[in-house]
């Protein structure tokens, strides 16, 4: 039983590690140590819930859901620690214009991510990972229309980068 579970986990881990880590890295604005911890946390949840995985959604969608949940749990813990509830969720969206100064595309990516709220960073990560919009809506549990509005707002926000170049 355990060896079968281990084999299934190993297969999922090897095939999905990159995308989980990259999503966490985007969420953490390029902080690789925190992204590694978060990736580990997500895969611990995958291991703990392997028995509950039903084949009604793809393994990829299921793992994305766990990863996004792990990222948001991390956010809650972090904000609770900082004791600044008022700024908790709204905090990251600044009214200042964000400016793309980096030439290196990886650094530019994380600079852009830093200008978005945590939830928007996750949505952007999923979009960059080329996850279909209807799958993103399923992962988040919102309607397609709602997601389209969210993506439109993210694009507007990111557009300011171009205006400042």
């Amino acid at each position: 039983m355990i060896s079968g579970q281990k084999a299934q986990f190993e297969q999922l881990y090897q095939s999905q590690y990159r995308m989980v880590y990259q999503l966490c890295l985007g969420f953490m604005k390029g902080d690789s140590d925190q992204a590694k911890d978060l990736t580990q946390e997500a895969f611990i949840q995958v291991w703990n819930n392997l028995g509950k995985f039903r084949q009604d959604s793809s393994a990829r969608t299921w793992i994305y859901r766990i990863t996004v949940n792990a990222c948001l749990n991390h956010l809650k813990k972090e904000k609770l620690h900082s004791e600044k509830l008022g700024e908790a969720i709204r905090g990251q969206v600044t009214t200042e214009e964000i400016k793309l100064t980096e030439q290196d595309p990886v650094k530019a990516l994380y600079e852009a991510m830093a200008g978005l709220s945590e939830v928007d960073r996750l949505v952007t990560g999923l979009l960059l990972e080329e996850v279909p919009q209807e799958e993103i809506a399923t992962i988040l549990g919102i309607s397609d229309g709602n997601l389209r509005v969210k993506i439109y707002r993210i694009k507007l926000r990111l557009k300011k980068l171009i205006n400042h170049e």
């Binding site: 949940n69 948001l72 595309p105 939830v119 988040l140 990111l158």
Partner: protein
């Protein structure tokens, strides 16, 4: 926007290329098993401590002191019933907590968490205060019979020694309630943020 999109996509692709191969699963599985064992141990210990306290209370209140007055017997009943009630609530809350697995959609997970935190808030708040009041009332019902066997000084000392930890406990409960309330607000805000 396309230019930005290209920069971001290129950044995403490049950052993906830099990712080193995943570490071994053995250590990860060992961590998961260890964390599960620790969590189970913590839950068992909580119930064990509360259960042992309840048994000790039963021994002292029912066997050791052997109260004779009706008022004292009502007091003993109040103390034991409400303490048992609090233990059962704690066990129920632990069971409910196990249902928050983080595998549902984000909104569904937040709804489950909201439900769980609302329950915790009730347990930590209203039900704990209710238990504390009933327990104190039960304790005060024992005082007339105690006064038959104790001097005024020792009776006053006993009552004081009950109320000082009681006040500390009330402050701790308040702190926990505030913490759970903060968590609940955060969940509500996060849900709004995702839906908004």
């Amino acid at each position: 926007m396309n230019e930005l999109g290209n920069i971001l996509k290129s950044g995403w692709k490049s950052s993906g290329l830099d990712i080193s191969p995943p570490p071994s699963t053995e250590r990860l599985i060992a961590s998961a098993l260890r964390l599960n064992r620790e969590s189970l141990k913590f839950q068992r210990n909580t119930i064990l401590i509360l259960g042992s306290t309840f048994l000790m209370m039963c021994y002292f209140l029912l066997e050791f002191f052997k109260f004779q007055n009706t008022l004292s017997k009502i007091g003993v009943g109040l103390m034991l019933v409400f303490f048992l009630f609090r233990i059962l609530l704690e066990a129920y809350s632990i069971q409910k907590g196990k249902k928050k697995t983080g595998v549902d959609s984000i909104i569904a997970s937040l709804d489950k968490e909201n439900e769980y935190l609302s329950l915790r808030l009730k347990i930590q708040g209203i039900f704990t205060y209710l238990t504390l009041v009933a327990y104190t009332l039960g304790f005060l019902f024992l005082v007339p019979e105690f006064s038959l066997y104790m001097s005024r000084f020792w009776l006053a000392a006993m009552i004081t020694s009950y109320f000082i930890p009681g006040i500390i406990l009330t402050l701790l409960i308040r702190k926990n309630v505030q913490k759970e309330l903060r968590e609940l607000r955060m969940v509500v805000e996060l849900k709004k943020k995702i839906q908004g």
